[in-house]
Symmetry: D2
Subunit: 420 residues, 4 copies
């Protein structure tokens, strides 16, 4: 029998962390004995526990310790042990058994000091700079030969996401996904969280798919941008093409948005829109040349909103602004996502999951889609902080705009806001 004693502290009981750790130990085939537990008597108090883990083999023990460390349980005897560092054998290649990061706040122990890992991001390695005494997440393709990389689980600790005490308003629905619940209150809370983010000068990221344009919701996003509620926009070729198609021809995928009939040249409109922008040299240039005069991307250019268009193999064209190399696109998104405090993802699977992979778990994330599978997929892939809302994106955005911008002068007659 291999044995090790771990300890854990914090709101480990009411945040479900202790039970989860016990559960993992058993699920992995090991046993536990609780040696000591001090439970906070009130919600604001922290609890503490020492647990002995027993496994049939040292390999299994190592596995268990690695896994429960993700939840903050650190071996007592090795808490002060240093992380093992190995040089990367070549550019773009980590040493074997490199430590793969979560998106949680992480510390690594180097030279008898705990240093916080910068740029937290899921599924990266940790690169340590022994001179500057700094550590940072580095994606696999960015590692350079001889970079020092953390290997194994020793000397790494994680701050699990605890449910805050007292609860924040924003957390009331946790990650619940349901089509059978009143949504108005949640939308109001999202509006409040966005207002708060902006009042603290936090940046808001919107990630959106082309369904936004097809369903006629683009005008609401334009309103959000105009009112300063969007600092960064991530999307693909599709959103931009259909937004520009609407600006130029009044159609989206060949359907006239204000008539709901198929345009005769339907499938040509979006290709002509692409060609037009290619001729202009890009979206910004098209705006400057007066070719593009309205819509989401026109407003982004006008309001100085940063947008990143990432390429995919189903793109037509694409627009000159699209970053066709997916690694480069990821890197640009990674960089732009850094200072974001709030992320609103709507009507997109690919871009939502890609962005979710890049965001630290501390970024408040809301994912809106009419298809429950999208939200499930997002949280399954590790973005567990995401709040899902299964609803139609057009009425969602309309209602969100109403909460963000209550018509002060509605008495004066501006009730038209719903019908313009």
């Amino acid at each position: 029998m291999a044995r090790s004693v771990v300890q854990i502290s914090g709101h480990i009981i009411d945040s479900l962390i202790l039970p989860k750790i016990l559960d993992l130990i058993i699920a992995l085939g090991a046993e536990f004995e609780i040696l000591e537990v001090q439970i906070g008597h009130r919600r604001a108090d922290r609890s503490y526990a020492r647990i002995q883990v027993e496994a049939s083999t040292p390999a299994l023990l190592e596995q268990v310790l690695g896994k429960i460390k993700e939840h903050g349980a650190l071996p007592v005897e090795i808490e002060e042990e240093a992380a093992e560092l190995q040089p990367a054998p070549a550019d773009g290649i980590f040493p074997d058994h490199f430590y793969a990061t979560t998106n949680l706040t992480t510390w690594v122990r180097v030279k008898e000091q705990w240093i916080e890992v910068e740029l937290p991001e899921m599924d990266c390695g940790i690169r340590v700079d022994l001179i500057a005494m700094r550590a940072a997440c580095v994606p696999m393709h960015r590692v350079k030969k001889d970079d020092l990389i953390v290997v194994g689980h020793r000397g790494v600790k994680i701050l699990p996401l605890e449910r805050r005490v007292p609860r924040e308003a924003f957390e009331f629905m946790s990650s619940a996904v349901s089509t059978e619940q009143p949504k108005g209150l949640l939308i109001r809370e999202i509006a409040e969280a966005m207002k708060k983010t902006r009042s603290e000068n936090g940046r808001i990221l919107v990630v959106a798919g082309p369904g936004l344009v097809h369903t006629g919701a683009a005008r609401h996003l334009v309103q959000l941008i105009e009112q300063g509620y969007v600092q960064v926009l991530f999307a693909g070729n599709g959103l931009a093409v259909h937004d520009i198609e609407t600006a130029l021809y009044g159609t989206s995928l060949g359907v006239y948005l204000d008539k709901n009939i198929r345009a005769s040249e339907g499938h040509e409109h979006h290709l002509w829109a692409i060609n037009t922008i290619r001729k202009a040299g890009g979206i910004r240039q098209a705006v400057e040349q007066g070719v593009l005069q309205k819509g989401i991307f026109y407003t982004c250019v006008n309001k100085g909103v940063d947008f990143v268009l990432a390429g995919s193999i189903r793109d037509d064209g694409p627009l000159p602004d699209v970053i066709t190399d997916t690694l480069k696109a990821q890197d640009v998104m990674r960089e732009r996502a850094r200072s974001v405090k709030f992320a609103l993802m709507m009507a997109t699977t690919l871009h939502a999951i890609a962005t979710g992979n890049l965001l630290p778990a501390t970024v408040k994330t809301v994912c809106v889609d009419i298809n429950p599978a999208v939200v499930t997929k997002l949280t399954d892939r590790g973005t567990f902080q995401a709040i899902g809302l299964v609803t139609d994106v057009e009425p969602f955005l309309r209602e969100l705009c109403e909460y963000l911008n209550p018509p002060a002068n509605k008495q004066a007659g501006s009730s038209a806001s719903l019908t313009n």
Copy 2:
């Protein structure tokens, strides 16, 4: 080779009826030869075709003739042939090979006369009264011993649903079901169709599931009822229970609608609501006794709206108003559905399909659900006239109410309608 010549007339080409008939002939394994075709030169003109059907056996020929007759193709030689009538062998039992009805307008030939079949409804038999020279659809359980019932397909003709020329506004989306289209226009059209129906004193039927209450949409339905846009309401125990639970306790399925938190006694509220109404003797009595003072069913009682609550095996209680015998419930629904001109079905599968089975194809039917499968199921089951709208029912009803009741007097302060 068995052969028969059929003829068909009407807008048989642009309404896709002729191609569908040719398609059926081949699909069933027979052959056709078009003997003559006169095509209307303009949209308003009618076309005419004579088609010879050839099948390898008389049985197959009979099958083919039976099937294409549903689309209006009648054998030339037997067009004037009388329907075969046989007496029902016992109460609740049709003669063998009875003619099973569609929900289309149907005539039956009796005593050298074509008489229109009354009470058109899917999956019934046709009972003929030779004295009164009347025919009517009769559901299986309502047939009486010795009623004369049509057997086989001879002497029966059907008026297929043609797409009108010129198209009505209402038809623009046919039965398309999509989550990726602008819905505002369709909702506006639904509002227009409801207004038109009411201006002609047509009755509007609403069929609704409990999701309407859970999502906070009940207040919109109350508004529809108050404004006279609902004459009949079909629902189950669930809608009524949760509506009354909300009126009595402010919760729906134990969730406080205005706080979105679970009530402590959550699952007791709906049972206590049922018990309360049972004690009062029924919904109307509860309103009269002042026990029930708001909500959908309170408003129905107050406004004299006819409601039918049909039982299901998953009901708790149920409320005294629920008709627990499903055959009796069907009969009451059948009777109430008769004069309806417009049907709006929301957030319900069972009641939508059950009602769809009872409605003639001439009733304009709209089915709204966030789950595309519900709408597909409805049209698969024969209610092909139904227009599906895949969206969230709460914002749908909110927007519908706005179109039906544009806030002329919003200045006066009623803008709160979105936030109360």
Copy 3:
């Protein structure tokens, strides 16, 4: 401040019960203080905790106590307090504030004795017989005037469903619902659980929808019945009608199952099937008369399997065997469900939820559907013990049959087909 001290014991930490209780206290707006906690040091040990609950009002305190009692937390000072009993004011009506049951094992304290509540079922009242010193769940419509019914939460305790230690094989997937996981292992476990149930003479209940016939899976269910793996079958008119339609005409909903083409008389077949059985007097009679010679219900009759057909408002006909009164159908299902040890629900929403409502939480329940929403709905409605499997029912049943009945001569070579 209103205060009360509760205590709880069992595997309250690793079964997540303690955290859930603390969570509920906060969610309902109250506070807690953990006075004492003794945590079992090893998995097999039980833990114990005493918690003081504080609420701003006595009403809130009462609410909180009521809710956490569902998880086994009993007020210390009143643990030995008697349940309050009140007479039912009339037939079919409970006293106000009656205690609404869960589907968990429950005791009620009467005359200083804890007696176990018989016939555990969700959403009922508890009727106490003071002479016989027995208590039982009673559905609302079955209560008689002056029956003694438990009111409020005092004197009632519940045994929460703990995850067993050590885990049973059957529990490995808890209630996870996923389309992206290997299913073979779970199907094998289901087969093992069914074999074990039968080897202990436990009764197996199958609940099935008509999709089973449409997808060609009926032959697998026939095989299950023949091999003695089905003791009770719950279904609606639809399953029986389409099974009989297939037996008589080879079609299901008018589609030839072995050719996948629409039958010409498609929609007539199922009506003729109904009429034929009505003429025979019922399913059993049709089998005895030689009219019905194969299929699910033929096999049920032959093998003496109990079947219950419950009516719904969308039924055609219905068959004479259908219990059209939903209350009566519930009562028959309730009675038949009593001795069931294992329930397998396939391709049905209405009957799965209705049955789920009647089953005690101790019945192992598996729900199979290609639509994830069905399983979610079932567990949302309180049948939290159900294991969901999102897959196609035909291959599921085929594979289940293969595990239950490995072909004797597969040893000869072809057995590799499942495992290579």
Copy 4:
């Protein structure tokens, strides 16, 4: 009023082409008059029609003519008119109003000759080489300055996809998508079509998503490859990573496929798998070095199956074999797709749609997914020839393999299990 006369011939009635054209004319707001119609009297005969189109403006007329041309209706007076050619203004930019291609067989009229457009593909331009008298589809990013490109709709004609007479077996389900139908027959037909394709030395393309590995279906795909039923494989980083993760560690996304429990190092396995292949230099190199010894991609390398891994922004790593530039990936896929006769797409949305965009309409295409939305999306995007099958991919592939490779010794008895 602007007027034009168009003519159309072929199986225009029973293939629904004529009605669709009449429908389009009206839907676009124009009128028609049928001047002449000669309808083929038997299925094998072709029909012919001349139709006068009237529109309120020349612009509308032009629109209508452009649209109905996609269905084969060519203006009589201009049938012999030459296509208008304009030089591309710059690399990657088409002339304004360039003709956007469908995926149907297309001819263009140049120098009084109709020449067939090579490399048919959706949403491209047509480049004409006047010297060689050849024309070909060219994607936007591949056009070079001064290439001659077709502009407008004149001088272009299309061969609409007619339903063949007599129907091919493969067509029996058209594009129907249903969860409630027997699938065995369709799977058998797919097997037959694959056998036929191979017997004629046609190439089969498989497009697959990572769900194939998660659900344990990879072994069936390995079998297909081994038996020569796959010539080309399109996928993303995900399929390869999880296939290799399974080969190296026995897990997929950290779940042990043969135990269905989460591996302790779950999320590290797939990253380590990527790192291992990066170190080896690529998949082929890993096979050669003995690092990769089983699985889908091992078998591809061994059997010489061409695989294309296209990048996406959600990729981890990625593997060295992934083409991260989406335009380059498209070009490689385009080239590899050229000679394909049959395409089988499973458990992928992005790659299925991207591939669908590149395939001519003449390639038989089957799309299998448990989510009906994927298939709907594919056909909505223009790949209307795709047959959808809504089912679980693991049992689908298992059954397909059984049809393709009936166990030789099944004659000995157990073969009945699939066919009785």
